[in-house]
Amino acid sequence: MTGKKRTPKVKQKKLKIQDLAKIRDKARAIMTIRDGEGRGRVTVHMGTCGIAAGAREIMDALLDQLSKSRVKDMIVTTSGCAGFCRREPMATVELKGQPPVKYIDLTPAKIRKIVEKHVLGGHIVAEFALAIGSETIY
């Protein structure tokens, strides 16, 4: 059993109704992940080939950029090898209601640009893309 005794260190401010809504909205954006829902999803392909090619740095850069740009409603996930090992690191960006886009030959700088242009702006970055179409994400 956890058996942690909770003693409040800082006196919690008592909530008013407006505060309730604020906490909810703030927490909700972060908790949508629990429902597996969001505005969209970015999948960094991290098979052994991906990791060898530097997918970890891509992931770090991605998370950092999302955080900097205050993006809270995107799901970030990993998947196994996508099959096109020569062009790793790869990532797929899928916004709700739009077909998924596969990006190849990524660098940390490129993924940051993709966040700004595609995730935030909604415009596909054609020069980094390989293909537009469906793919099962598992």
């Binding site: 409040p8 008592k14 972060i30 990791i51 990993t78």
Partner: protein, 609 residues
Amino acid sequence: MKKYRTHLLVCAGTGCVSCNSFKIKEALEQEVQKRNLQNEVLVIATGCNGFCERGPILLVQPEGIFYQQLKVEDVPRLVEEHLLKGRPVKKLMYIPPSEKEPIPKMKDIEFFKHQRLIVLRNRGRIDPEKVEEYIAFDGYEAMAKALTKMTPEEIISEISASGLRGRGGAGFPTGKKWDVCRKEKKTPKYLICNGDEGDPGAFMDRSLLEADPHAVLEGMVIGAKAIGAEKGFIYIRHEYPLALQRMEIAILQAKEYGLLGKNILDTGFNFDIEVVQGAGAFVSGEETALIASVEGRIATPRQRPPYPAQKGYMGMPTVINNVETWGTVPNIIRRGAAWFAGLGTETSKGTKIFSLVGKINNTGLVEVPMGITLRDIVYGIGGGIPDGRKFKAVQIGGPSGGCLPSSKLDLPIDYESLTAAGSMMGSGGMIVMDEKTCMVDIAKYFLNFLRDESCGKCVSCREGTQRMWEIVKRITEGKGKQSDLALLEELATATMDASMCGLGQTAANPVLSTLRYFKREFEIHIKEKRCPAGVCLALIQYEVIPDRCTGCLACKTSCPQDAIRGTLKDVHLIDQEKCIKCGACYEACKFEAIETERDPAIRIVERAR
């Protein structure tokens, strides 16, 4: 709150905790740290996920991948393969019995697919010890609405319109109960939450208290506004330490945030809640006995009327409702009575939580809309009977309920139809039985439970349950008389008619329902002195099947009574005079080769006369 890319939701309901899920959580945290993923991956302990058969359980969001039957040793590989390399581990996923391919996502698994989570909407997805997470999913929104935008009359009219009926067993319309109490002039008024849950096999209330305690608190504040109470009690049985602990934490947090106590949400409304521990009696789940227990007296029921809504705790108007009922209230206020009334049947609205246990593949907790058939629950959600056996009966409603046979599998679940069939909704326990269950033995089991738990006040209940148990026991020992069945029915009817409280009034149900549907089995026990299911010890014996015996001495070594004769490579023989039917030989033969099961060379037969 930091933003993570993956949340690992570890089930920490009592079932999984008893299988080491806290250790698994620790191992996950350590491994995540080791792999430097602590800024991306969050590990959370949630309440019961529901699929208790397959615990310990881990849910990985946002992919929704479901891992089951985890061991601490599995953790390093899981973290490396799934979180680092993005390859979910197939070997740890759920494979339906008699199939080969795993089903990775929770929402595709039969057990979860057909459920409709309303009261249990937060199960397995929030940390019950963090009130912010409850608020994230619209928590306390209904309470805010009730306290600022609704009058007491409006709240009660909304609850009445929804058709909510008490989920503790009796199914009394909740809105009506609240209205009676509101109209009483005496103050102070009180609110009580009945978390005594004594039915064997039932764990709905425990699950809710462990997974989502704030839902109950929110419901109670809304109820307090409706009837005009300033103090409430949550009565949780002593045997639920995790539920007690989580509820205490929830109350503390709610008070810190001004969601409970004085001047809630700055609206000027005051309501405080105290947790009271039960003292180990099934009868203290009866509402007047519970109130006596909260007052510090012995838990003995008293005559009603006057009802607790008129004269309850300390003689004051008191509304007492079940945990599940309180948990449903915020959902009704938030989404509207019409939405709730749209689910279920004409007379039984909404959803109900059932604990599906016994001889079933998918043991666990299910929430389904009223009106679903038994067949859908047993074969759809439950996945059918294990080991290829046949369905025999399902006991619904705990010891107060009755057994329903396979002819009733297409019965829709609602209060009236179950009562008409000789059973009862009760608190929602569902015990499934297969052909190897003896119905006479089942009647004996429940009568034993009831005679032990009777408070002892009424002659009809105290003596009635004892004498019924004696008769059924004699029948299981092969000493039944022809006149016993008529006597049982007469005694059962008298017990039902004459007893004062629900325990005695329903004590006859295990007997009457098994007699109604399984009379033949009773008659076989009495007339032919046989137990067709092979359960009643006095009527069976263990014997060795000569063609299958390899003479390995495994059974002989395991026998505590030294009742098996035989030498190596010779067929063994069980001495019936010495045998105490403990079954050790059967187990030893079945698992003779270590870790592989084989067809046993010992079987259970009806005793030679």
